[in-house]
């Protein structure tokens, strides 16, 4: 059936299934990173139950790895909460692009879907929408699938983690740092990043000297954000469009 004018979006089981199938392509990557998280969480002192609940409830890879970097006993909820806020800030932008998706769909379904908003299902949902398939349940179908895989992989990684011996000898304590180094390249967008990044690093190093604990990460992230906003210049094209 071909319909060209769709007033309100659909939200069907078939749409959720399409989202779940699309997410399966990402399964190998999610399994590897989820298992890695479980393994590192075990060496950081989280119990199997704690690591599993964190993966199931938070389900944010970068934020969870950042939390392990900040882990202490007892753990500061403010520090890991702020790290989660900073790491997930990109979803503010992705969520904003979802506004047009849920027209005419009950708010409960929209916000339940957004609870499961990740990079992967956002991308496959966008792809589907560009191709003209407008079922809004794609997002939650893909998201629940991804979160389930991530949580199961965490369990496997944690269970395996205890049998590896000294993590330092194998270089496994370096895994989080390497993960962030790889993200550094993935996030890099060009020369306009240089000044905010250098400012963030300088403030982070200074803060680390002055204030004990993980606050240097928050200070660096805020510095980068503020510097990027101050230095923002509309492009010539954007100005031409605006006038």
């Amino acid at each position: 059936m071909q319909t060209t004018s769709v007033a309100t979006a659909r939200f069907t089981a078939a749409g959720a299934a399409a989202g779940a199938r699309a997410a399966l392509v990402l399964a190998p990557t999610i399994v590897i990173f989820g298992a890695t998280f479980g393994l590192i969480a075990a060496t950081a002192g989280l119990s199997l139950l704690e690591a599993t609940i964190m993966s199931a409830v938070v389900c944010a890879g970068t934020a969870q790895f950042a939390a392990l970097q900040l882990w202490s006993d007892p753990v500061s909820w403010l520090a890991v909460g702020l790290a989660s806020l900073a790491m997930n800030a990109r979803y503010i932008l992705m969520g904003a692009t979802m506004r047009g998706w849920f027209t005419g769909i009950p708010a409960f379904r929209a916000y339940a879907s957004l609870y499961f908003l990740y990079d992967g299902n956002w991308a496959t949902a966008m792809r589907d929408r560009t191709a003209g398939r407008l079922d809004a349940a794609h997002l939650i179908g893909g998201g629940v699938t991804m979160c389930s895989i991530w949580t199961l992989a965490t369990v496997a990684g944690h269970a395996f983690g205890g049998n590896l011996g000294d993590p330092r000898r194998l270089g496994l304590d370096f895994l989080i740092t390497a993960f962030f180094a790889s993200l550094c390249i993935a996030f890099w967008r060009g020369r306009s990043d240089v000044v905010p990044v250098v400012a963030a690093m300088a403030v982070a190093i200074a803060t680390d000297h002055l204030v004990p604990g993980p606050w240097y990460i928050v200070a660096g992230a805020i510095t980068g954000c503020v510097v990027a906003m101050v230095r923002y210049q509309p492009t010539v094209e954007a100005k031409a469009h605006a006038s």
Partner: protein
Amino acid sequence: MRPDVMIAILAMAAAAFTCRAGGYFLMRFVALTPRIEAGLRMIPMALVASILAVAALKGGPPEWAGIAATLVIMAVTRSDLAAIMAGIVAVAALRSVL
């Protein structure tokens, strides 16, 4: 299940949901200005660079080599798994030698 860990997990989840639902919610009232968008886009990069800067400062030659190996392999292959493996191998190798 320790209470401080439970509270930390809930704080992380609340922060994550605030971000995931916040942009969608705000679009009811305001448009994200390009300036605010530029600031938000910078946050993940700035956070990661901050962690790396302090990790590099606290580390020694094995960690420096590991970070360099990860950055180079990631820039060349664009595969995060290959880059992370390279970094870990570099660190483990240098630690066994030094």
